[in-house]
């Protein structure tokens, strides 16, 4: 297998706090690679650096053999990297479908188009509706985003990541704040997209991670202490000590 994403010796500090500490990681093409770790382990900082919203102090990020360490976020997306946000990060003022069409249109070249009204673009609308249908929100397409529940926002995040037609999806805690039933739905949703995209999943929900992941890396204090299959991770003593034992 080839690696779609490779991270070598990544370091990032905020003042005296080391958020990412000599971190090395590889994501195989097509795998669902989960990253787990206690609170404050630097998971979100890592995904920030992978998506280009933050830049590392030292180290190297390679995507499909291309160095993207210093590439700004808006130039990573066209390469096929999408991310979802832990804190729901939608454009609340817009309707549900408008949020999704934004993702679709980003794939269609520049948007310096001033004349034609977006909402009259039928193909775009149909594409967005198909995505919303996949996450079970088609009937809410024209509602204002702000009117939807937290669980529905999480699903919108997935629809948007799918809309970006990414080869690599960076999912930042898609289960965060979901109820039991919603979590089950989200696991099913992720299972349905698994294999079609390479996915780096950051998640707190252990049941979800062990149910979905092909491989798991354990992040503690900004450093990866172990990588392996779910069974290997379960059996790993260092992991049990650092993390699972405290649960």
């Amino acid at each position: 297998m080839t690696q779609i994403l490779r991270v070598d010796g990544l370091n990032k500090s905020f003042g005296g706090i080391t958020a990412t500490d000599n971190l090395t990681l590889g994501v195989e093409t097509g795998e669902l690679h989960a990253i787990i770790g206690p609170n404050g382990a630097g998971k979100t900082t890592l995904i920030g650096q992978l998506s280009g919203l933050q830049f590392p102090d030292t180290g190297r990020i390679t995507y499909k053999d291309r160095d993207i360490t210093r590439l700004p976020a808006y130039r990573r997306a066209p390469l096929g990297i999408a991310r979802s946000f832990q804190i729901t990060s939608l454009v609340m003022e817009m309707s549900v479908i408008d949020n999704v069409t934004l993702a679709l249109r980003a794939k269609q070249g520049h948007s310096f188009r001033f004349i034609r009204a977006v909402r009259k673009d039928k193909a775009l609308r149909d594409g967005a509706l198909a995505l919303l249908d996949r996450v079970g929100l088609a009937d809410k397409a024209d509602r204002p985003t702000v009117a939807l529940s937290h669980g529905e926002h999480r699903k919108m995040e997935i629809a948007i990541a799918l809309g970006a037609k990414a080869e690599l999806m960076l999912l930042d805690e898609p289960m965060a704040g979901l109820g039991a039933e919603e979590s089950v739905q989200m696991v099913e949703l992720l299972r349905s997209i698994k294999g079609r995209h390479s996915i780096l999943l950051i998640e707190h929900d252990m049941d979800a991670v062990f149910a979905l992941a092909d491989r798991i890396s354990v992040l503690v204090y900004g450093h990866i202490i172990a990588t392996g299959t779910p069974d290997e991770i379960r059996a790993n003593e260092a992991v049990q000590h650092a993390y699972l034992g405290e649960e």
């Binding site: 280009g52 808006y74 454009v91 817009m94 249109r105 948007i160």
Partner: protein, 321 residues
């Protein structure tokens, strides 16, 4: 058409009908007010494009108004007194073209710097650039410094005569109509959606692949150019220009209009400009301290009416149409 669009249509219709009545009944004072109102509504609409739809709180839009007015005044001055032959004209197309060109260029240069900042810093740096222009004009003795400059000849266009109050008003009204339709077209276009997305959530837009900075810069340039055009109209209306037009308090007044009327609505700037003119007239006839009740009124609107007066009239909040 949404209810907010209808409010804009009604306002524009009223502004089309009332001022000719003022003329026929000899109410020249009200005619003047209506002309100023329409010009301010154009300037406020341009500010609304970046402030309301783009989420960029520019505190320097008066500079564009001033530059636009001086783009009429300086050529007219040289036409009369000689010098600077290249721009010494009274031709309206040249003057208005100059107004748009200069303000678009100024918006491009300052926007490139301002848009690297956010929030309070953006507010302060746009204001700083406007003040820079303000003091720049004050220091140019030839154009009257802070005493200002009288425009002896209005812009000359074929077929219309801007010395006639009704024809000048007609030009302003048609301009407002075109600007409102133009802004409406922009905010509904792909470009407009990206602009509004960048206001709502910039990081999200970046990770989707949008270079938000570039979209905001283009919006800022368009906004500046429209505002410069409004300035050229204002110069023709007042026939007297001074640096005071671009004082930071003037930028503040434009912001009042947008916020009072309802940011990110089409009708908002028109309603806001109307309220501003009416309140200014009514309150200042009661007391010289009219800014005090005016300020209180603004505070009440901001606190209790989401989406400004347009939001109140259309029965829903102003965001997003």
């Amino acid at each position: 058409m949404t209810r907010q669009d209808w409010i804009a249509v009604i306002m524009l219709a009223l502004l089309a009908v009332l001022p000719p009545l003022f003329i026929w009944t000899g109410q020249y004072f009200w005619m003047d007010l209506a002309t100023r109102l329409v010009i301010l509504a154009i300037a406020a609409s341009s500010l609304n494009l970046v402030l309301g739809f783009g989420g960029l709180v520019s505190f320097g839009h008066a500079a564009f108004v001033g530059l636009g007015a001086y783009a009429v005044g300086i050529p007219a001055y040289h036409w009369l007194y000689g010098g600077m032959d290249a721009i010494a004209v009274t031709n309206g197309f040249t003057q208005f073209g100059l107004a748009i060109g200069v303000t678009a260029f100024f918006a491009l240069i300052t926007g490139m710097i301002c848009l690297r900042t956010r929030g309070v810093y953006f507010i302060m740096i746009t204001m700083a650039f406007a003040q820079m222009i303000y003091y720049g004009i004050v220091s140019i003795e030839e154009y009257g410094g802070d005493d200002g400059l009288v425009i002896d000849t209005r812009s000359e266009f074929p077929l219309i005569d801007l010395d006639d109050p009704l024809q000048l008003y007609g030009l302003c009204w048609v301009s407002l109509l075109v600007v409102v339709l133009f802004v409406r077209m922009i905010v509904r276009s792909r470009f407009g959606m990206v602009l509004q997305g960048g206001k709502g959530n910039e990081e999200r837009m970046a990770t989707l692949g949008y270079n938000v900075y570039a979209y905001q810069l283009v919006a800022y340039v368009i906004s500046g150019a429209i505002c410069g055009y409004a300035g050229a109209l204002l110069g023709n209306f007042t026939t007297f220009i001074s640096p005071e037009m671009m004082d930071w308090t003037r930028s503040g007044e434009l912001m009042f209009m947008v916020i009072l009327g309802g940011a990110s609505t089409l009708a908002g700037p028109i309603i806001g400009a109307t309220m501003f003119i009416v309140l200014e007239e009514v309150l200042s006839s009661w007391t010289v301290y009219w800014h005090l009740p005016f300020g209180l009124f603004l505070i009440l609107v901001v606190l209790y009416i989401r989406g400004g007066l347009t939001g109140l009239l259309s029965g829903k909040k102003g965001e997003g149409e």
